[in-house]
């Protein structure tokens, strides 16, 4: 498992990236992160939802109740225009940052 500090720095970027692919709800977001990271990264309820609410309050994402036949309604999140700008910016920063850190620690390119 990774340290909470590491996760904290990247959670917004992960959520934004996932929502950039397609709008989805909180439970699925948690699952997607877990699956895509091959089980290496997991978020529990207590850490995921406060982040979602903060991002929503900042206007990066917006939630909307969606009802599908035979299912209970869920709150689906999607990127806002502002969220898309933030995502582009964070992606750039992340790439530059990890490249720089790799140079320092002498590892191979990611």
């Amino acid at each position: 498992m990774f340290s909470p500090e590491l996760k904290k720095g990247s959670v917004e970027l992960m959520i934004l990236s996932l929502l950039d692919d397609q709008p989805t709800h909180g439970y699925e977001l948690g699952k997607l992160i877990e699956v895509r990271s091959a089980g290496e990264i997991q978020f529990n309820v207590s850490s995921l939802y406060p982040v979602l609410y903060r991002m929503e309050n900042d206007g990066w994402i917006s939630g909307r109740w969606v009802e599908k036949p035979g299912e209970r309604r869920r709150c689906h999140y999607r990127l806002t225009r502002k969220g898309r700008d933030v995502l582009a910016d964070q992606r750039r920063q992340w790439a530059a940052y990890t490249a720089a850190v790799n140079l320092v620690i002498g590892g191979s390119r990611a």
Partner: protein, 906 residues
């Protein structure tokens, strides 16, 4: 499967139920836990265990709540609301009372949040309330300072004034000797004195005071000593200075004590200077005396029954009421009337009654009515503002009601809803109160600056603690007043219908009726104010359109002070004979004359002069007519440009017999009825030798000498040299070709050339005095017009809002009508008709109210009755047109009702 929502709600302690937002969080988290649980179930875990596993995803609920709250707060909550929230949580931990307090605090937070959401609405509401509360507070602070605050004396309630004018000294001595109700009884003789000891001749306001006067009003000394018994012996010769005069005349030099002033030619020694804080009753009314001279009650010259000079003040004994003292005084006067009839009976044999007035009443009696009227008017304005705000709150759209319905649905009881809405109203009102205090401070300054003078105790008017307390009380009261209707409305909401229909169900008949009632009330009250303002304005127009009966625009006047020992009768005649030709040589001067007073030199109640009442006319009939004798120099009437029938008094009038006189038309009518008075003889001018033979040479008509509202007073004009030169009171009147103000300096110089020691405190143009004489009615009518204008505006706003609301609510109906073929004009009429009904009802009620209320104005009106039909009609038409005008926009909107659009909106 477990009820996850209940599970989450029981554990997640969010700070407050913030309506839908918090509900969503609960539901979402519950969904998440349910999904996790299902996941475990799908793997074949038994249900109970699956639930435990899911629940284990959240270990620290408090931490989660804190994180969510932090996330939610970001960029959303104002700092104030956050603070309030923290306090609420603190309180809630303290149990039941704490919970109530927390609820209150939350309600405050709601209000603050709604203020952020609807800044425009809040601004308008707070501004309207601020104006209403501010105007009321400003007028209250004037009323408080003038009428309510107690006087700055020890036990001021025990101080009384003997209302009955001035008294001759022997009568005062009778009061002292034959009453026991008074711990102290003393008096003062206000006199103007000329002081000629300095570089320039100066006029001083002197008070000749009986023993005990200064002590009665708590005089304290700054320098020297107070007046002692030995100072009150013989002719006035010892005095104390007021602080102001000490500073002005001596620059605060302590060496002033011991010096002698020459007052009216007599030496008066200064023995002390009064403390800066001392104010005599005259000082409280803005006419502070410069010097207080000891007056010996036994001074020989005072011991006559006909010299009415002493004003009497007293302090009641402990425990004695004004009524008891009055009874004793009445009895004493009745008893003494047989012993000293010349003192206690008037010439017609009636008792000369004296009314004891509490000192404060006596000082403020002249303005009490006007100030109470203003307070009433501004109170009406405040009520209109309240009705207006209540209307605004009711009109606040459906969103708010939806919010209330949600709160109600999630368990808030009626009381809580009521409390929430009322809290919000009170916060509105308090914010309005804050604005009001600012308005009041400005208003009081404006009042002090623009008031026409003559308001006693005005220096004590201040926006102080008392006034702030009043503003607070008024704010709270208005909050309750305008908040009640919306609060009750809120508590009565039909929740399920509201939620179901998106809020429209609550918009029923009730609310429309309530709003229309408020508009009716607004129109009615505005009409009352308008009527008052209209009457005062009409009265002012009548007053200023009175023709004074002389050429007021080109007259200047100078009071000639020839009262001291240097002048006797002969010297005055010589002075005037030398002066008039010099004055007439001044460029721009057309004519000059003297008399004892110039028209408008004194106006209103202050009439000074020589009165006579007995005449025998040409047919031998004895006629009693109180008349003012006005000695004038030759060509007086030509000088002032009066309408004179017959002749002016000629320069030989002083020596002729029978004595030539000019009458006012009113006196001529009284003496000779419809006979032509010119040339007729009669008897009058009583002196020691009985009545004199007089002959009418001229009749002057329409001369308003004492004020535009004073009518044609009965006057008898005689030769100044023969009948006026023995009196100190003399005035020069000058007619100019151009602006009389331009010659004033030249007039002064010409007088000082002849007598460099003459004090000239009164050099004026008559038109300026005339403007002053109508300044008071002008001020009050302007103030009332301002109030009425605001009231009109508010009422117009009220009816505009109500009609807009009605049109909005009936949009569908109007659209259907339009679809069925009603043209725009018909829809316009439909709305205007409704507005007209509301307006008519308001006018009817307001008209009745106005008829009752304007009775209070009676004493202030000139040439207009309190029920003047022209004014009443005019203001009703004005109010009606404004109300209909205000509904034109909503009506026009209705006329354009578009069937398609309205249907689509459904």
């Amino acid at each position: 499967m477990r009820d996850w929502k209940a599970y989450v709600r029981a554990r997640l302690a969010l700070p407050a139920l913030r309506g839908l937002r918090d509900e969503r969080i609960v539901e979402e988290l519950a969904g998440q836990l349910e999904d996790l649980c299902r996941e475990h179930l799908a793997r074949g875990v038994p249900e109970a265990e699956a639930e435990e596993l899911a629940a284990a995803h959240v270990t620290d609920w408090d931490e989660l709540a804190r994180r969510i709250t932090t996330a939610e707060r970001k960029n959303r909550q104002p700092v104030a609301a956050e603070w309030v929230e923290d306090r609420a949580r603190d309180l809630e931990r303290r149990g039941r009372t704490g919970a109530v307090a927390a609820e209150l605090v939350r309600n405050i937070r709601y209000a603050l949040r709604s203020a952020r959401r609807e800044p425009g609405f809040w601004a308008v509401t707070v501004l309207i309330l601020g104006l209403g509360i501010g105007a009321t507070t400003a007028i209250f602070s004037v009323v408080d300072g003038v009428l309510l605050k107690s006087l700055p004396y020890h036990q001021p309630d025990r101080l009384v004034y003997f209302d009955g004018g001035s008294f001759p000294m022997p009568r005062v001595a009778d009061f002292v000797e034959h009453t026991t109700s008074f711990a102290s009884l003393t008096g003062v003789w206000d006199e103007e004195m000329d002081w000629t000891g300095g570089d320039r001749p100066l006029q001083l306001n002197a008070a000749l005071v009986l023993p005990g006067y200064l002590e009665l009003f708590d005089a304290q000394l700054a320098v020297g000593r107070l007046l002692l018994e030995e100072d009150f012996q013989g002719a006035p010769h010892r005095a104390v200075l007021s602080w102001g005069a000490w500073q002005r005349l001596f620059g605060g030099d302590p060496g002033a004590v011991g010096r002698s002033l020459t007052m009216d030619g007599n030496p008066v020694q200064i023995v002390g200077v009064l403390d800066a804080g001392f104010a005599s009753p005259a000082g409280l009314t803005g006419r502070e005396r410069d010097v207080f001279v000891a007056l010996d009650p036994h001074w020989q010259e005072l011991q006559v029954s006909w010299w009415f000079v002493i004003e009497v003040y007293g302090r009641l004994r402990e425990g004695v009421t004004v009524a008891v003292a009055q009874d004793e005084l009445d009895a004493a006067i009745a008893r003494l009337a047989d012993v000293h009839p010349q003192l206690h009976r008037s010439r017609d044999g009636n008792l000369r009654a004296v009314t004891l007035l509490p000192l404060q009443t006596s000082l403020t009696g002249s303005v009490r009515g006007s100030l109470q009227l203003l307070l009433g008017a501004v109170g009406l304005l405040l009520l209109i503002a309240c009705a207006n705000v209540a209307n605004l709150l009711l009109a606040r759209g459906t969103e708010r009601h939806h919010e209330l319905a949600v709160r109600s649905a999630i368990g808030a009881g009626r009381i809580r809803i009521l409390a929430q809405v009322l809290t919000e109203s009170l916060i509105f009102a308090l914010a309005g109160g804050l604005v009001g205090v600012v308005v009041a401070i400005g208003g009081v300054r404006a009042f002090e600056m623009w008031n026409p003078g003559g308001i006693p105790l005005i220096e004590r008017v201040a926006v102080d603690g008392r006034v702030l307390a009043f503003a607070l009380a008024v704010s709270l009261l208005t909050g309750v007043l305008f908040g009640t209707a919306p609060a009750l409305q809120g508590a009565r909401l039909n929740v399920s219908a509201m939620l179901k229909e998106g809020g429209r169900a609550g918009e029923g008949r009730d609310r429309g009726r309530l709003r229309r009632t408020l508009v009716v009330v607004e129109i009615a009250m505005a009409l009352v104010l308008l009527t008052g303002a209209g009457l005062l304005f009409n009265s002012f127009l009548h007053l200023t359109s009175v023709r004074p009966g002389f050429d007021a625009a080109h007259l200047a006047g100078v009071e000639l002070r020839m009262g001291d020992d240097r002048y006797d009768e002969q010297a005055r005649v010589q002075f005037v004979r030398r002066l008039l030709p010099r004055i007439e040589r001044i460029p721009g001067v057309r004519a000059a004359a003297v008399s004892i007073t110039v028209p408008f030199q004194y106006y209103g109640g202050r009439r000074r002069g020589w009165w006579q009442e007995r005449y025998v006319n040409d047919e031998g009939a004895e006629i009693e007519q109180s008349t003012m004798i006005q000695p004038v120099s030759p060509n007086f009437f030509a000088t002032i440009g009066a309408e004179l029938r017959g002749d002016d008094l000629s320069s030989s009038a002083a020596d002729e017999f029978p004595i030539p006189v000019v009458l006012s038309q009113s006196l001529a009518d009284r003496l000779f009825e419809d006979r032509n008075p010119i040339g007729r003889g009669f008897q009058g001018l009583q002196q020691q030798g009985g009545l004199k033979q007089l002959r009418v040479v001229g009749v002057v008509s329409g001369l308003h000498h004492w004020g535009l509202d004073q009518g044609d007073r009965t006057m008898l004009y005689v030769s100044w040299e023969r009948w006026g030169a023995d009196m100190a009171m003399t005035a020069l009147v000058v007619r100019t070709a151009g602006d009389p103000a331009a010659v004033l300096p030249a007039l002064r110089d010409a007088i000082w050339e002849l007598d460099p020691d003459m004090a000239l405190p009164n050099v004026f143009t008559v038109s300026q005095r005339m403007a002053q004489s109508v300044a008071t009615p002008k001020f009050y009518s302007a103030l009332l017009i301002a109030f009425a204008a605001v009231a009109l505006l508010l009422a117009a706003g009220g009816i505009y809002g109500a009609m807009l609301y009605t049109v909005g609510r009936r949009r569908r109906e109007l659209a259907v009508r339009a679809a069925l073929g009603a043209d725009g004009r018909r829809l316009l009429r439909l709305v205007l008709w409704q507005s007209a009904r509301v307006t008519a009802l308001g006018l009817a009620i307001g008209g009745g109210g106005a008829l009752a209320a304007t009775r209070a104005l009676r004493g202030m009106l000139f040439g207009v009755s309190a029920t003047d039909p022209t004014t009443l009609t005019a203001v009703a038409v004005l109010m009606g047109s404004v109300a209909l005008g205000a509904s034109l926009v909503p009506a026009w909107r209705a006329a354009r009702a578009n069937p398609v659009e309205a249907m689509r909106a459904e």
